[in-house]
């Protein structure tokens, strides 16, 4: 029960990594667990969860991210690691890592002390099949394989404000196919709260549905 939970959320650009990472952190927090959420997006550091750091902090999560004005003067080259990021896995509690997109993003784990040896670390790939680069089974397999060893897939298929049941179900079907081919489990099908009425407790492939709140729409500077 009190086993440490350490999870890294990775995936294609705009696949929903941050939303899923934030929601996971909130879920653990609501179970009374101590949670640290770490913004490790060094690929595109200007469009991350920095702007909502305070809001999440008020909910009881320890957010490790640069704050507005903290990294001034660095412009777009301001992708630097805080000491708290490097040592994110040290100390107790659960850790949720929000990683920059693609294989380059994932390389940040090389900079985190103890990540390579950590037996609790799970890497989850977030997939939205409405993203054309990860729309087909073959493309997703190629993409997931490029990331190295991963522990699970999350079907996060949606069309933003035009999300319908069809895209969620098709995502479930395609991601489940990938799961079968790669032998990597589907952890969940994530659905934004606004579209919760479109789904039940499980998707048609039998994967659990996870209802998530959206935060990143407020994350623009």
């Amino acid at each position: 029960m009190n086993k440490r939970i350490i999870e890294a959320y990775v995936g294609e650009y705009a696949s929903g990594k941050s939303e899923n990472a934030i929601n996971r952190a909130l879920e653990l927090n609501s179970q009374g667990r101590k949670v640290r959420l770490v913004d490790l997006d060094l690929v595109n550091p200007f469009y991350t969860l920095r702007p909502i750091k305070k809001e999440l902090g008020q909910k009881g999560i320890e957010v490790v991210a640069w704050g507005r004005g903290e990294a001034t003067g660095l412009g777009e080259a301001g992708s630097l690691l805080k000491p708290e990021m490097k040592w994110a896995l040290h100390g107790g509690g659960d850790v949720v890592l929000d990683i920059g997109y693609g294989i380059e993003g994932l390389k940040v784990l090389n900079l985190i002390e103890g990540a390579a040896e950590d037996k609790f670390l799970k890497v989850y790939v977030v997939v939205n099949i409405a993203r054309p680069m990860t729309a087909a089974v073959g493309d997703i397999i190629e993409y997931v394989t490029s990331l190295g060893e991963v522990d699970g897939l999350i079907n996060n298929s949606h069309l933003g404000t035009e999300t319908d049941r069809e895209i969620i179900h098709e995502g479930a079907y395609i991601v489940s196919k990938v799961s079968q081919e790669l032998g990597v489990p589907v952890v969940a099908t994530a659905v934004a709260k606004e579209y919760a009425h479109l789904v039940g407790k499980k998707d048609p492939m039998g994967n659990p549905i996870k209802i998530i709140d959206l935060f990143m729409k407020d994350a623009y500077w």
Binding site: Y13, A14, F46, Y47, G75, E76, N128, A130, R131, P132, M133, A135, H158, L159, G160, T161, E162, I167, Y220, W221
Partner: protein, 361 residues
């Protein structure tokens, strides 16, 4: 046969930069020349991921000066070439774009406006309006489409390739950092299936045959000895541009028939303005909006028609009066008072526009 990048039509969820890369692919672009700059980067990133799968090319140059000129070179050699940049990169590319203007080279360039002046922010602005319309030591002989959504980024990037090659003027898709990074649903499609026919890209240099014998000699110039010689050339450019302007001009109107306050905005700001007009109308306030989609050529007559009917005008932009100057020039002589809501480098919300309009009542 090579598989088409997009089969039929499909609904997708993308960022704006990614949308541009897919649109260029769908528009049969052969090569992108580029140099990295935020917030444009993912146009390059996605192009470089997609290009090898579809037998297209990419060249990263040593800077934007080179990216602009290699695009010119690519076009001269018969390639459907394009580039994309932002802010200081847009400044550096103006030299090559002036050359394209002078030599009627059909360049397509996508601009993702960032904050200025200088390096400023990587985030967002509408401060490259003047630069994109009139940059370089020329007369602004260019077509500039200012987009407001991902669907438009897709549609107008495709259209830009045909506008450029049909009229042989440099053609710009003017986006911004918000449109680049934002995610929203859109429909992507195969232009062939929509009946969009592409003007072929033909080599102007290195063509076969002996000059003067098999074909006319090719004489591409951007240097002239005599001032009257130059005058004749520039006069020709200006006249050609003016002649086709009415068929290139595009705009969008909302609730203009009985409107008292006419709100003018372009690009993504027009989304806030259109939202504000809807809200104001619900409250019984007679507001309307006018959005130039082409900033060059500017839909002058259409703005004037609406401006003359209105009691007051409000120009809204994320710049300090760059759109206002275009509008004021377009309707010169019109007596309708013109106010401004100017936020250089900062976003503008529906609520702020509503408030500004109410302040004019």
């Amino acid at each position: 046969m090579e598989q088409k990048p997009i089969q039929g039509e499909k609904k997708v969820f993308m960022t704006g930069n990614e949308t541009v890369a897919w649109a260029a692919l769908a528009a049969k672009a052969d090569i992108m020349y580029g140099y990295p700059i935020t917030p444009q980067n993912e146009i390059m990133h996605y192009w470089t991921r997609l290009a090898p799968k579809h037998n297209r090319k990419f060249l990263q140059t040593e800077d934007e000066i080179s990216a602009g000129f290699t695009t010119v070179g690519g076009v001269l050699s018969g390639k459907r070439a394009f580039t994309a940049t932002s802010g200081p990169g847009n400044v550096l590319m103006q030299d090559s774009l002036s050359m394209a203007e002078m030599m009627r080279i059909p360049i397509v360039m996508v601009v993702t406006q960032r904050g200025g002046p200088s390096t400023a922010t990587v985030i967002y602005s509408q401060q490259e309006t003047t630069l994109t319309c009139f940059g370089g030591n020329g007369e602004g002989i260019r077509v500039v489409y200012s987009t407001a959504s991902h669907q438009e980024l897709f549609d107008y990037t495709i259209k830009a390739f045909n506008t450029a090659w049909k009229y042989r003027f440099p053609t710009f898709v003017l986006g911004d950092g918000y449109q680049s990074q934002m995610r929203e649903p859109l429909k992507i499609y195969d232009p062939d299936e929509k009946g969009i026919e592409f003007v072929p890209a033909v080599a102007q240099l290195g063509v076969e045959g002996e000059a003067g014998v098999d074909r006319d000699p090719i004489h591409l110039r951007n240097t002239y000895n005599m001032e009257d010689e130059l005058y004749e050339v520039v006069r020709g450019l200006v006249d050609d541009f003016k002649a086709v302007a009415p068929e290139i001009e595009e705009y969008r109107e909302q609730d203009v028939d009985d409107c008292e306050i006419l709100v003018v905005a372009h690009g993504i700001v027009s989304r806030a303005v259109e939202g504000a007009v809807q809200q104001l109308r619900r409250e019984g306030i007679k507001a309307g909006s006018f959005r130039p989609i082409t900033l060059r050529p500017f839909p002058e007559k259409h703005l004037r028609r609406n401006a003359e009917k209105a009691r007051k005008m409000l120009i809204v932009e994320s710049a300090e009066g760059q759109l206002r100057r275009l509008a004021a020039d377009a309707i010169y002589g019109c007596q309708t008072p013109m106010e401004g809501l100017f936020r250089p480098g900062e976003s503008i919300t529906v609520e702020e526009v509503v408030q500004a309009v109410k302040g004019l009542l």
